[in-house]
């Protein structure tokens, strides 16, 4: 029904997705700093406390370890907590609870205790913020068995993926590209049948192409789509894949693509050294050894702390650096 289409930003789509999940299951709780009246510093939980009450949308004390640690207890009591970490750089006080508890309890108990917790983290840079507000911590979580890690790049995915993550009986680190929160609007059909939606832990070809495979996720998908467009004007056909899931990785569509194109560039904001690109490059190099015309090239944040905001756009991988890497894949 076209009549039910709603134009939404990513921020609104996430809000609508959270609302839907809360309506569908009384065990779903939201918790975090300022998620109540304020609706979160990005307003992702706007209006939800008003509608679902303070028992279901909980303004917690300012302690990230406490947020995750109490979420573990709530999950053991049968709840499905969705925790908001205010900014990427503030997830680290909760790191122990995440990697030693959330990630391991299912394993520790041989599956007797499930951890259906979603940890939402606005991540990535480009919003002109001060230190600790522009980090990309995904690789650290993806390296941790027991966690699943996903990220959305657009409003439609945001709307569905957050619901799928909440429905997951495994803990999900849900990374939201904060720079995209209010960037674009997209049509969302809230009445669509959830079962018709692409499963959560899958990647997706978002632009088909023949010459180079360009891999991205979260905030870099848009940049990469633009790069593909720019490359097209120079006669190069770039296939762009939105990875969507970082752990597990869904490498099937990637390998399939690389076997056709023979060239790969992977882009992310996170530090290049041991970023997602390193794992992806290692897997592709192993699985597509004879197909590669050139090594997998990585375009990532540099191996320095995130810089002061006046130079963040120069630090972040951008269209030009992606295009440059695409060019370089032809130098081999």
């Amino acid at each position: 029904m076209a009549g039910t289409m709603n134009k939404m930003t990513l921020a609104k789509a996430l809000n609508a997705g959270l609302r839907k999940a809360m309506e569908g299951d009384p065990k779903v709780l939201l918790m975090g700093e300022d998620v109540g009246k304020l609706g979160g510093v990005f307003r992702i939980t706007d209006g939800l406390q008003k509608d679902f009450g303070e028992d279901r949308v909980i303004d917690t004390p300012l302690a990230e370890s406490g947020i995750i640690g109490t979420a573990v207890g709530l999950a053991m009591r049968g709840y499905r907590p969705v925790c908001e970490i205010q900014f990427d750089g503030f997830v680290y006080p909760a790191y122990d609870q995440i990697v030693s508890q959330v990630a391991k309890i299912h394993f520790r108990t041989q599956g007797k205790v499930k951890m259906p917790i979603v940890i939402r983290i606005p991540f990535g840079g480009g919003i002109g913020a001060v230190e600790h507000h522009s980090e990309s911590p995904e690789a650290q979580f993806a390296h941790t068995p027991g966690l699943k890690v996903v990220t959305c790049s657009n409003p439609v995915d945001g709307y569905w993926m957050i619901q799928q993550a909440i429905a997951s009986d495994d803990p999900v680190i849900f990374l939201e590209p904060k720079r995209q929160y209010h960037a674009d609007k997209a049509d969302i059909d809230e009445t669509a049948d959830a079962s018709s939606i692409q499963p959560l832990f899958t990647s997706r070809v978002v632009r088909p192409g023949a010459d180079v495979t360009l891999l991205a996720y979260g905030p870099m998908v848009k940049t990469c789509l633009k790069a593909a467009e720019a490359a097209a004007t120079e006669g190069r056909s770039i296939e762009v894949i939105d990875l969507r899931t970082l752990s597990p990785l869904d490498m099937g569509p990637v390998f399939e693509s690389v076997r056709r194109t023979g060239r790969v560039v992977v882009a992310h904001e996170a530090h290049t050294n041991l970023g997602m690109g390193s794992e992806i490059a290692a897997r592709i190099s192993e699985q597509c050894f004879y197909s590669l015309e050139s090594p997998v090239l990585r375009v990532g944040g540099f191996d320095t702390p995130y810089p002061p905001s006046r130079i963040e756009e120069e630090w972040l991988p951008d269209l030009d650096r992606v295009l440059d890497a695409i060019d370089r894949t032809f130098e081999f």
């Binding site: 709780l29 028992d55 917690t60 004390p61 302690a63 370890s65 406490g66 995750i68 640690g69 109490t70 979420a71 573990v72 207890g73 709530l74 999950a75 053991m76 009591r77 049968g78 709840y79 006080p93 122990d96 609870q97 030693s100 508890q101 309890i105 299912h106 394993f107 520790r108 108990t109 041989q110 599956g111 007797k112 205790v113 499930k114 068995p145 027991g146 699943k148 997951s168 009986d169 495994d170 832990f201 597990p248 990785l249 869904d250 490498m251």
Partner: protein
């Protein structure tokens, strides 16, 4: 410092509370002395009969037997390590017996006595220390959580679980089978962890039904409690706005009475309490530890006089509450338990090397399934070699 300036900030708390005293200090709640005499306390009383005391005696004896048996099993190479509770039987049985079925326990790695009270098969405890699993009892069966090794982490789980209890409306209803309390066990060392202090905050702010049960056994491995606090630990609760009490952790009657009252407070909706059970770790930290490196043997001798089981035995005997038959039958039970544990431990099956792949997620990933298959094939190649 100049006295005027000091005075401006009120009395010196270290002077007020005094340094740690070997006898627990004047605030120690005691109902049964080391000499086996029952005494009154203005605020807390033991409201069970002497049959119950005999039950506690039996519980403590069996718990001690689990402990000594496991220690011996470790010495014989059957366990990789064992965390002994020797000396802490009263704290664990007293508190454990105060629980109702619907209450929920978050233990550390040393709560074998509490586990026993909850009905967890002691063999199940051995699995973790033998290395065949990570403590694979089902916490839903006995409302006894899995052992938590990262110290302090479980206190936050307890606070969260208690917030869930509140949301379920299982607090303050007056229905004794519904109202639920949660207990977080932790140690003197753990009290320094950020997580423990955050759990105090979450519990206080939410007025959550949690009892924080701190077994102050005087040591965190080699560190005496002075390295964690300069005032008695039960006072910590004051800073967070809920009550803290210090109970004689070697007095099973007092541990029962105080814990029961604190649990009841929680169930009624009056929020968290910190109970510091002042006790002593009579054994090593674990079987790999060597306490002679850091503590005086006199210290231990002193505490032996306060043995939690001995005082109950004296009480029962002196007052003619139990006869030889009773004591013999408990000894027999202990013997039988010992045999069960020894035989059972050796029979605990090793896990299969492939099982780990299936326990990571509730919904298995293709990636990990493939890793499993690859490894299975690799292992298979040896077998076929072997066959060939």
């Amino acid at each position: 410092m100049s006295p005027e300036i000091g005075a401006a900030f009120g009395p010196n708390l270290v002077e007020v509370f005094g340094p740690s005293q070997a006898d627990g200090g004047p605030e120690l709640i005691q109902l049964l002395t080391p000499e086996g005499e029952r005494i009154e306390h203005p605020d807390f009383s033991f409201d069970l009969d002497d049959e119950a005391v005999k039950g506690f005696y039996r519980d403590m004896m069996l718990t001690r037997r689990i402990d000594t048996e496991a220690t011996a099993l470790q010495r014989h190479g059957e366990l990789g390590i064992w965390a002994q509770l020797l000396g802490q039987e009263a704290a664990q049985i007293g508190s454990g017996r105060a629980l109702r079925p619907q209450d929920y326990v978050f233990p550390t790695y040393r709560e074998h006595g509490v586990a026993y009270c909850r009905g967890v098969d002691p063999l199940r405890l051995l699995g973790l220390f033998r290395g065949v699993d990570q403590g694979a009892w089902d916490p839903r069966e006995n409302n006894f959580g899995n052992y938590t090794i990262v110290i302090g982490a479980q206190t936050l789980h307890a606070a969260g679980y208690a917030m869930g209890v509140q949301r379920d409306g299982a607090v303050g209803t007056g229905d004794p089978e519904r109202d639920t309390a949660v207990v977080a066990y932790f140690g003197d060392g753990a009290s320094s962890q950020g997580d423990v202090n955050e759990s105090f905050i979450f519990a206080a702010v939410n007025n959550a039904p949690v009892v924080f049960f701190l077994q102050n056994n005087q040591w965190a491995i080699s560190e005496p409690m002075e390295r964690q606090s300069r005032i008695p630990l039960y006072q910590r609760a004051l800073g967070f706005g809920f009550p803290g009490v210090r109970v004689d952790g070697n007095d099973v009657l007092a541990c029962y009475a105080v814990t029961q009252a604190a649990l009841q407070r929680a169930r009624e909706g009056s929020g968290p309490t910190l109970v510091e059970a002042y006790t002593y770790r009579m054994g090593a930290h674990t079987t790999t530890d060597d306490p002679t490196r850091y503590r005086l043997s006199e210290d231990l001798e002193h505490w032996k006089l306060k043995d939690p089981i001995a005082r109950v035995e004296v009480y029962l005997k002196r007052n003619g509450l139990a006869d030889d038959e009773f004591f013999d039958s408990v000894d027999d039970e202990c013997e039988a338990l010992g045999v069960t544990l020894r035989d059972g431990c050796k029979a605990l099956p090793d896990p299969s090397a492939l099982s780990v792949f299936d326990q990571v997620y509730e919904e298995q990933t293709e990636e990990l399934a493939a890793q499993r298959d690859g490894y299975a094939a690799y292992r298979g190649s040896f077998e076929s070699e072997g066959v060939a």
